[in-house]
Symmetry: C2
Amino acid sequence: MRPRGRPRDTEVDERVLQAATELLLRRGYGGLTTDEVAERAGIAKTTLYRRWPTKDHLALAVVARLQDHDEITDTGDIRRDLTDYMEKVAAGLNRMRVAGLPPGQESRSAGTVAELVAAAARHDDVGELERDVYARRNALACRLIERARDEGRLRPDVDPMTLLEQLAGALYYRVLITGNPVDRAYAGRLVAAALDGAL
Amino acid sequence: MRPRGRPRDTEVDERVLQAATELLLRRGYGGLTTDEVAERAGIAKTTLYRRWPTKDHLALAVVARLQDHDEITDTGDIRRDLTDYMEKVAAGLNRMRVAGLPPGQESRSAGTVAELVAAAARHDDVGELERDVYARRNALACRLIERARDEGRLRPDVDPMTLLEQLAGALYYRVLITGNPVDRAYAGRLVAAALDGAL
DNA sequence: TGAATTTCGCTACCCAAGTAGCGAAATGGA
DNA sequence: TCCATTTCGCTACTTGGGTAGCGAAATTCA
């Protein structure tokens, strides 16, 4: 049942997200301006701000929509499954990190990923939404690990979340802090290190 | 030998950093404004910008100065040494993460840490300076690991940098992404997981 | 039909980052 | 002493995120 007043134009959301997506992907976070998004979407800036209270919220909405909800493969080979998962996470990071750079000029910039992390720190609700995205994705991998553990393919005292944080953390650390590339080779080394231990 | 023109007032740098430090610690990144820093330091804003080309550069200078150059303990017990090191890293993160919050209202905000990560992504030179800070600190821990490995206390195929990235990465992941607390207990669990492996 | 309610577009505005340009002050060198 | 050079303070400005307030449009309910 409709609320009381004039209904929202639902096409507006779509047009705004479209325009914002294009700007974010082509020009990066700094090149995404609410003025231009509003202009391209053919609406007033105030209308935009009625739906997304800050640019950070808008950018998160864009990125959340871009997330492909890829499934996790479960072949029973935990080493391989985890490597596959890490590679998918890495691919997502790499897609965002080059956003806004002229082709060929990649630099070490973590770009949009870093800005979204900062956005999460600035607004509590953005942080929660972001955490939901990660959590949903990690939950699948978590079950993968639990199953392997319960079937005796991993040590019984393995804490799935700690293991995941070790793996994903290293990827994010590379992208955000050291700026080194993350590829399948690195994902493999990482999983090997985490599974085999250092002792 | 002095350059040609009017010399820079060296006291200005000190006064600016002082004012910026206080603002950053008390009000957080968003509460640090170049206008107020300049006013408190008793200089014109243009003078500030002649030394630090952006607010991001200034903030990094502040944080870099705050880093305590604590040594790394080497007791020969690699498990304990790494835990100590992780705890020091965590302490540094926790110090920055509460910056700008009224006491008691900690929230999950990663605050200044996240903003600095974004700053590194925005300006290549800020990124390089930041990486230098981390690299210098990590180099010590790296040697610690190498020594343990070469003395047979760790597997011979251990890659020190990968191990460090696993450890530090998980800490940063917690602070920046999941927002969970990092304390000594977590540091211990982390080191145990990395050393013992999951298999 | 009319009243209440909500969205929309518009204009004008505030704030903070960062820049342009100028005259005055402080230095080294001829 | 005079000149080149550089810093400094100042004022004015541009840009982008975000807000206030208003009149018009679109809807529900009586």
